[in-house]
Symmetry: C2
């Protein structure tokens, strides 16, 4: 990463954030908390989700269309791909297609895990599609970490049902973690860090932190990506204070940052659920047509 600011610190940069759905609003939330004077344009390609079941070529085409919309039509000077599947499978294609810096969520999450782990063994929980891509394992391996990944397909529906502080969700988290820890033990791993590799999971962070073994650190890839974006944008190696952490119910999101949200379909669900992810009202979600 360059230490030279990409965008002048005094300016109010426009930052584009892209996801296949609206889970990436947790990344937007972390960005808004860190860059209260920036402008943000978020697009959720809700008409074509889920990306997880589609081919790399199709995902790249879809993601490039959204990225181009953010750069050409919203004037984004910097892009954050707040979607694990697109980060895993289409980051190169997006970087090649737009003339602005593009950051994904996976490498920042892995870098934070590297900074956190003393044993060199980390656990990753994510959706089925992200685990299948093994993108976190590859990014962790490139940093000298051993990573064990586990798909937790019930967690996204539980978050979308609003059961973020529900005994059923607590049980499901403990079942998944028990299975993951047993698998780690069977492979002689000594994990001390758990990476939340899905943009929905920050809403479960309080439950997850209560469920992990004592001393295990929980790394949120949404916050990691926002930290990395701030470093790139400001060119400063400043530590982000804990006061901007996403966890818990307290919202410290700046009310002054200008945020526009777009979706390609399903505006109703986006508007209904999105505020919980963003930590403030998403307001009017504008419908855009990116074609079939």
């Amino acid at each position: 990463m360059s230490s030279r600011p990409i965008i002048p610190h005094s300016a109010a940069p426009t930052i584009g954030v892209f996801d296949s759905g609206f889970g990436g609003l947790t990344v937007l939330r972390a960005l808004v908390a860190r860059l209260p004077h920036a402008h943000f344009a978020f697009i959720g390609d809700t008409a074509r989700l889920p990306y997880g079941s589609k081919s790399r070529r199709t995902i790249a085409r879809y993601a490039v269309e959204s990225a181009q919309f953010l750069v050409r039509e919203q004037g984004a000077e910097f892009l954050v791909i707040a979607c694990n599947t697109a980060s895993a499978l289409a980051l190169d294609a997006i970087q090649a297609a737009v003339p602005v810096p593009v950051l994904g969520v996976i490498e920042p999450g892995a870098a934070n895990a590297r900074a956190s782990s003393r044993t060199g063994d980390v656990l990753v929980v994510a959706t089925d599609a992200t685990v299948h891509s093994h993108a976190y394992a590859a990014a962790c391996s490139a940093l000298g970490l051993r990573a064990l990944e586990k798909a937790c397909p019930l967690l996204v529906p539980l978050v979308e049902e609003g059961w973020t502080n529900h005994p059923v969700t607590d049980q499901v988290i403990r079942i998944y973690l028990d299975e993951l820890l047993a698998e780690a033990a069977s492979q002689d791993l000594k994990p001390d860090t758990l990476v939340l590799g899905c943009t929905h999971y920050p809403l479960l962070r309080p439950l997850i932190e209560r469920a992990v073994p004592a001393g295990m650190k929980v790394i949120d890839s949404a916050e990691s990506a926002a930290d990395a974006a701030v470093l790139l944008i400001n060119g400063k190696n400043e530590t982000i204070s804990d006061s901007t952490a996403l966890s818990g119910g307290a919202s410290r999101v700046s009310p002054t940052a200008k945020v526009r949200c777009f979706a390609t379909d399903s505006v109703e669900k986006f508007e209904r659920l999105g505020s919980r992810f963003l930590g403030r009202p998403v307001g009017n979600v504008e419908l855009v047509d990116l074609g079939g």
Copy 2:
């Protein structure tokens, strides 16, 4: 419904079954149990699911493409739309597009509820998209029933996780049913029948039957659709024996029926999970390209 057989009883008709995913394999299972000498072609439009978040026009276009594939390329003489969303939003379009009889899942489920209910008040559990369409309420209302619908968005992920006989699933079902029964009571309804309005739910039937109040009958729209198809195909008003019921683990599916399965993407998940829905191995799922 005509009493004249549409297809000669002695022939081995080819029956096409369509779903946006593979949940409709429960409908195929019920059909195979009732028509052991028929040939079946099943297509899951997995590349373009979920249909629930898409517009009526888009759903109709997708569903017509799958229906035409079954009729033109697989020689289907009869179609069953084993997809609640497509049944709700695209049945007319499909019927207009293909020269064979087409049956959906919603009207047979409502008709069975009408036959079952003494009070005239019924409950319907389904996905968010199906409940939003109010297709069951409309079909029930047309038969003089009052229907209260409830979206149960966690049940499909629980089935797909394989937790069909799991204490967490039991709790979730009881939470949803308690909410639904409380809502019914607040509206002065006296429901005595519960319609399973999603093709995934037959796998939860044993848990659901244990959770409903004593005396409440559970109607499975997958079985109802299969019964209606048999009546249309055979032109006979024979009662389907309970021995072909889908509930429980015992499979009575004929091993002789010829079944070919197609998908537009995600063959891996289809093959991995499909057998539980079909009650026998789905075998090799063939990939077809219906275009963007």
